[in-house]
Symmetry: C2
Subunit: 328 residues, 2 copies
């Protein structure tokens, strides 16, 4: 295989000149450039990307960490992140952290060792102190990881309020509410607090069902729906994430009740799953596309040397009316 | 930041010795190793991974190309591939090729430039000649890319036969059959040929509906289902991939017919989507986990210098009975 020396010889220039051109590290005249390009072409020479990256101390690779890619919310988020990164010439390394306890630490280590230029993370099992030690580009989705790491999140508090008011308007009096695990500190928990606050203000009964941490599989959601329905037959309203809302709808169908006549459902997230039921789910939709774009924008800012203190980007959610509620 | 020279000085050994140890490129005595390790620790030195990779001509990164990660089949495949790669110390770079026409060519180029060590691809828009020129580790899922590139696939022919026989056993006489685009050459098309062959042998009417290439979104599937049902109201059986089968089920519900009493449904793939309906879909399940594991195994073989000629791994499919058919 031809090397940089062969190229220099063929183009009749010095090795340093070829190196300057490949690495874009100094002046090379237009005429010389052409000669080198022709020599490269004739020798079928491709510059070694690793060597070039070593020189520039960047790899063009961004790591994205999510608990589980088969979860529709994370699948859509990752899909948009990858497209956005691609636009700016970055490649995405993807890690499902669910399978391994120490994957998160390993990726932080890769950031330190210059294998990736930055991290966008939707997970968090290490403590905040670990993140505080790392002075490198990291952006968090829905996670608080210390004041130096910007957070991108939807307005979950507003989401909780919208969901609650919708069920109130629909005349619900006994509402089943599935909450995420409160073991971790995440802005998305605010939707639950706000939902319950509004419900209390209206004097409505809320049955709170707390889900386990980091379980996003259909099997678990089905169990949880069944379990919740085994505890009471009085629910006339439900608030749950998309996949769980689908499983609740299946429970309602099995119990021979009707949606929305007997039981109203408001789902949270608004992934493609919410459009696959008959009728479609009424959802509080997260702006997944914008969450992805903002995450990439902040990460690029960090990689360009910008720094942030307690930066939080909060994006609007919106009601998307389906057939599982009346007037909305 | 401390460099290799600082480590050598502190450990009172030569720079070459430190380099040999870091790169695992020659003998270093146990005693010297210890001294170097202590020096590295004291100086908080982390070897530059890029430099090390440059030396070894490997990056430990595998690119995985799929049309769209939000498609449940590809999401599950990628999930398993990533977990399997992780086991062997590899990281996964993921590309959704749907968004960009030339992403496929770009990744092949990255393989040539030593940015990734290998590729597992579930897409194919470039011609086979392009792939034949590349003498590097590539494994194809469900795609024929020339005799040097091993193919991992499910036994789709058997899948087509099982689906057909199941609908025959269920007494169907007018079956709606959604086929993939026949524009590309893929082993998965065999299920369609075999399905129609068995149906013809039994004298059963088949309404074939050809889907567009590379559309995996819910919106399109809903349209296709609606369109197919607008053409006839006589179907008593349906054969379609999971997401489309769900949309067909919704069409049946809207037309006030019953599944499986009036219309039987057999879905193909067996992703988590198939378990989210009421009743659950009867499916011909692809062994997605094994498809992923075999892809990684073959890729590792290729990276270890093995070569294959016309290698094809064909894995068994199986019927998973749900409630959208009777006896199965």
């Amino acid at each position: 295989m031809a090397g940089i020396k062969d190229v220099a010889k063929k183009a009749q220039v010095g090795v340093g000149t070829v190196s300057r051109m490949i690495n874009d590290s100094g002046y090379v005249s237009e005429e010389t450039r052409k000669k080198i390009e022709i020599a490269m072409k004739e020798l079928n020479y491709t510059p070694n990307e690793l060597a070039r990256n070593l020189y520039h101390k960047r790899t063009g690779i961004i790591a994205v960490l999510v608990p589980n890619i088969t979860s529709p919310f994370f699948a859509e988020f990752v899909n948009h992140v990858e497209a956005e990164l691609y636009k700016y010439g970055y490649k995405m390394m993807l890690c499902n952290t669910e399978k391994e306890n120490n994957a998160e630490a390993e990726y932080l280590d890769m950031l330190n060792r210059h294998i990736v230029d930055g991290i966008i993370t939707g997970v968090h099992s290490l403590n905040v102190e670990t993140y505080e030690k790392i002075n490198k580009p990291i952006v968090a989705l829905d996670r608080y990881l210390g004041e130096d790491i910007p957070v991108v999140t939807a307005n979950h508090k507003e989401g909780g309020r919208l969901a609650a008011e919708l069920l109130v308007k629909n005349g619900c009096r006994n509402v089943l509410h599935f909450t995420g695990s409160t073991e971790i500190s995440s802005p998305y928990l605010e939707r639950h607090f706000e939902f319950e606050r509004v419900m209390r203000n209206h004097g409505i009964n809320v049955f709170t069902y707390q889900l386990r941490l980091n379980r996003f599989d259909v099997e678990y959601y089905r169990e949880a729906a069944k379990d919740a329905f085994s505890k009471s037959a009085d629910y006339d309203g439900i608030f749950a994430v998309d996949e769980l809302a689908v499983e609740c709808m299946n429970e309602v169908i099995r119990s021979k009740k009707r949606v929305p006549e007997d039981i109203k459902i408001v789902a949270y997230d608004g992934t493609f799953i919410a459009d696959m039921t008959e009728p479609r789910l009424t959802v509080i939709a997260q702006p997944i596309d914008s969450l992805a774009k903002e995450s990439v924008r902040l990460l690029r800012d960090l990689m360009n040397g910008k720094s942030f203190k307690n930066k939080q980007i909060i994006l609007d959610v919106q009601i998307r009316s389906g057939g599982t509620t009346f007037n909305s």
